[in-house]
């Protein structure tokens, strides 16, 4: 079996090496060496990923079995890698964007101690390793290993500056929220294993039809619970905005481009099961849409530049789930890809701004950065246009594909989706206007230090900007160009079974070209109006001390969801824990243990009195004892 794709194990293996080297020798290696190793392994993985992608494009699908991960009589789980269209696409995104962010980090994190710098790169490498494991795994178990690995790295990196206790709390929150989702994922895997006796993708998907509808609905809903945790959907989304406590490149890599899309990958991977479970589809679409709208409304009123981007990420992830929920799997994956480009770009741009502002993240103290940071400004503007869905930037193609599919399912979905898209355009250009336009509102000292970032920051920005602009061209809809949707053609084998199933069971009329064009025009005009309104309003933004009132206050406080969770879940749990601690533990368990000790002590003190030292007493007791034994023996 001399398949050239046998070498795929190298792709995750190289970042693992990078993690080990940087982690173990963090005290010896110099910063530049750490940067070279950390980025170099990712670059090598990227080169391999490109090769693998080319092979896959040529039709070379590979299933590699390395060894048995679990090997018992009843359970056999292989350590398998599956390289096909979907995973090779994700490989490219992860290693490509990952590499750019590594390069960016060498500059962004340069002020850290050499030891911390190496630790940071070790974590980042470990993250890439886990993420690659997640997308390359050939069964749900291997995916789950990566799934947990990225959660761990996310925790480590959010709490990277662990001396700040707020950051630690944010890290813990992210981890716990993720654990809740992971439980759902794990239960789904158990259920699946129980019913089918395997977790290998190809066997599961072949036999998905043998599952009862109830099983399918249960499994897919549990999988979706896992996805809501990892991909920050209602009700588990609150960890993602808090995760902005981590370094900005981490937010770009983990909390925008890669890890949070794991849920979408997983659902796109299991597409046939989800297609056969219409109830789950409705739930996903509803949750995705609700998340998209809710997060967008919150983003309207945030003043922290990273918080806006975080809520925007949650909102965009909501769009991806809407896409999955209406069966537009290609659209969702497409949006994952374009979102990875423009959101990584926006985060890195924000990082560049924060860097120049000396750590300032409040947009009210920025403004007018246009003339100080030209590259950052241009690339950021391109990113904003892309996320706002302006044609012909990448976000336009992917978002409109999802919206068109949503319209096919239910025009209401489309209407709400467009409303969300308008809000997206508004808050992004509010952010842009407050940051880059107008005049500078920070301190004099900050103004003095304003500077364009070094090449290690601007080059990744430029590359991502190019990708954000042209990335959408792989998926030009049929309306504009026949056979223009290269991505759909490429991913066709992954969703083939689903497409057949849909054709058979839920036939939909294709949208007429004029309807589709009309929908696009409507959403673009709406977004453009919102964009211009925001541009107009915030280019001359003046700092005011007036507190938000009414709805604005509710939005600025994030709909009080955190407070709600605190009251409904955290506080009762805390008081329950206090009850267990003070009453059950101290009084009950301690009381029982101490009581046994006291009883033995007291009893022995009393029994000791029998030992009088009188020989006569002893003999008497002995005789009595023997007599008792006789009586028992002969008379009872």
């Amino acid at each position: 079996m001399s398949n050239t794709l046998q070498i795929v194990w190298l792709i995750p293996f190289l970042p693992l090496i990078g993690f080990l080297v940087n982690g173990l020798f963090r005290k010896q290696l110099s910063k530049s060496l750490v940067g070279i190793i950390g980025s170099g392994v990712i670059l090598a993985s990227f080169a391999l990923s490109v090769y693998v992608f080319m092979q896959v494009k040529g039709g070379n699908i590979h299933l590699a079995h390395y060894f048995n991960f679990i090997n018992t009589d009843s359970i056999k789980v292989g350590f398998d890698f599956q390289v096909d269209q979907l995973s090779s696409l994700f490989l490219l995104i992860i290693t490509g964007v990952g590499f750019l962010i590594h390069v960016y980090s060498t500059s962004y994190m340069h002020e850290e101690d050499s030891k911390d710098f190496a630790k940071y790169f070790a974590y980042l490498n470990l993250f890439v390793f886990s993420m690659l494991l997640l997308v390359m795994g050939g069964n749900y178990i291997i995916m789950f290993i990566g799934w947990e690995g990225v959660g761990l790295c996310s925790y480590l990196l959010i709490g990277f500056w662990f001396r700040n206790n707020d950051y630690n709390n944010a890290a813990k929150k992210a981890f716990i929220m993720n654990r809740i989702g992971d439980l759902g994922f794990l239960l789904a895997v158990f259920w699946l294993y129980n019913k089918l006796g395997t977790t290998d993708y190809h066997t599961v998907f072949e036999n998905a039809g043998k599952l009862t509808p109830a099983d399918l609905t249960g499994i897919t809903l549990l999988l979706f619970v896992g996805a809501t945790g990892k991909s920050a959907q209602i009700p588990l989304y609150t960890w993602l905005p808090d995760a902005m406590a981590g370094p900005t490149p981490v937010s770009a890599l983990i909390h925008a481009a890669t890890m949070v899309t794991a849920g979408i990958y997983m659902i796109a991977r299991s597409n046939i099961m989800f297609t056969m479970a219409p109830v789950t589809h409705y739930v996903i679409a509803a949750v995705g849409l609700a998340t998209a709208i809710l997060a967008a409304t919150i983003a309207l009123k945030q003043n922290d530049i990273k918080k806006v981007l975080a809520y925007s990420t949650v909102s965009q992830l909501g769009y991806m789930f809407l896409g999955l929920g209406v069966g537009a799997y290609t659209g969702a994956v497409f949006h994952v890809m374009t979102h990875a480009f423009f959101k990584a770009l926006l985060f890195l741009g924000a990082g560049s701004v924060i860097h120049a502002m000396g750590g300032e993240q409040d947009m009210r103290n920025m403004g007018g950065l246009k003339k100080y940071m030209s590259i950052t400004h241009i690339t950021f503007l391109l990113g904003c246009l892309a996320i706002a869905g302006m044609p012909p930037f990448s976000g336009f193609f992917s978002k409109d594909e999802i919206l068109a599919a949503a319209f096919k399912q239910n025009p209401l979905y489309w209407g709400l989706g467009v409303a969300g898209a308008m809000m997206t355009a508004f808050y992004m250009f509010r952010l842009y206007g407050m940051t880059f336009l107008g005049k500078f509102r920070g301190t004099h000292e900050q103004e003095h230090h304003l500077h364009e970032s070094p090449a290690a920051i601007t080059v990744p920005l430029s590359i991502l900007a190019v990708l954000a602009v042209i990335g959408g061209l792989v998926g030009i809809p049929e309306v504009f160009m026949h056979g223009g949707h290269k991505l759909e053609v490429f991913l066709e084998p992954i969703f083939a079974t689903t497409n057949e199933y849909v054709k058979e069971h839920q036939p939909h009329e294709a949208l007429s070209h004029s309807t589709e064009l009309g929908l696009m025009a409507a959403s673009v005009i709406g977004a453009l109006a919102a964009l211009l309104f925001a541009w107009n309003k915030f280019s001359k933004y003046e700092k005011t001390d007036a507190a938000e009132t009414g709805l604005g206050k509710i939005l600025a406080n994030k709909w009080y969801v955190d407070e709600l969770y605190n009251t409904v879940i955290v506080k009762p749990l805390n008081s329950f824990a206090a009850f267990l601690n003070n009453v059950v533990e101290k009084k009950g368990i301690d009381g029982a243990v101490n009581g046994v000790g006291k009883a033995v002590n007291y009893g022995s003190r009393q029994i000791r009195l029998l030992q009088s030292g009188q020989v006569g007493t002893y003999v008497l007791l002995m005789v009595v004892g023997i007599l008792v034994l006789f009586i028992i023996q002969f008379f009872l």
Binding site: Q611, S612, G613, Q614, V615, G616, V619, L620, V623
Partner: protein, 109 residues
């Protein structure tokens, strides 16, 4: 002579021994009472042996003579015990100038 007489005599001897041990305080008398109990047991063994011997004839010589051999053992052990016990009593007398066991309570606590 029926076996009952032997049993009654033996039980009487044994009871006298026990009561002696329980009620007397003089170590030597207690000692003698212990010997009395041993001999009560010996008497019973010999009596039963004789009874079995009569019942079974001479077909089972070992069965009949086992108990008698056992009695010899007990006598030997008793003799050894007497020598050790008397030595202990002598030592007690030297230490506390008395053979009253009620004074021997110093091991208490």
């Amino acid at each position: 002579m029926p076996i009952n007489y032997y049993i009654v005599l033996s039980v009487a001897l044994f009871s006298i021994g026990i009561i002696g041990v329980l009620t007397r305080r003089n170590a030597i008398i207690i000692f003698m009472c212990v010997e009395l109990m041993l001999n009560a047991a010996n008497l019973l063994l010999v009596a039963f042996s004789k009874m079995h011997n009569l019942a079974l004839g001479l077909n089972f010589p070992t069965l009949a003579s086992d108990a008698q051999i056992f009695v010899f053992f007990i006598m030997v052990v008793a003799a050894a015990e007497v020598s050790v016990g008397l030595a202990i009593i002598v030592m007690i007398y030297r230490n506390i100038h008395s053979v009253d066991v009620n004074f021997l309570n110093r091991l208490k606590n």
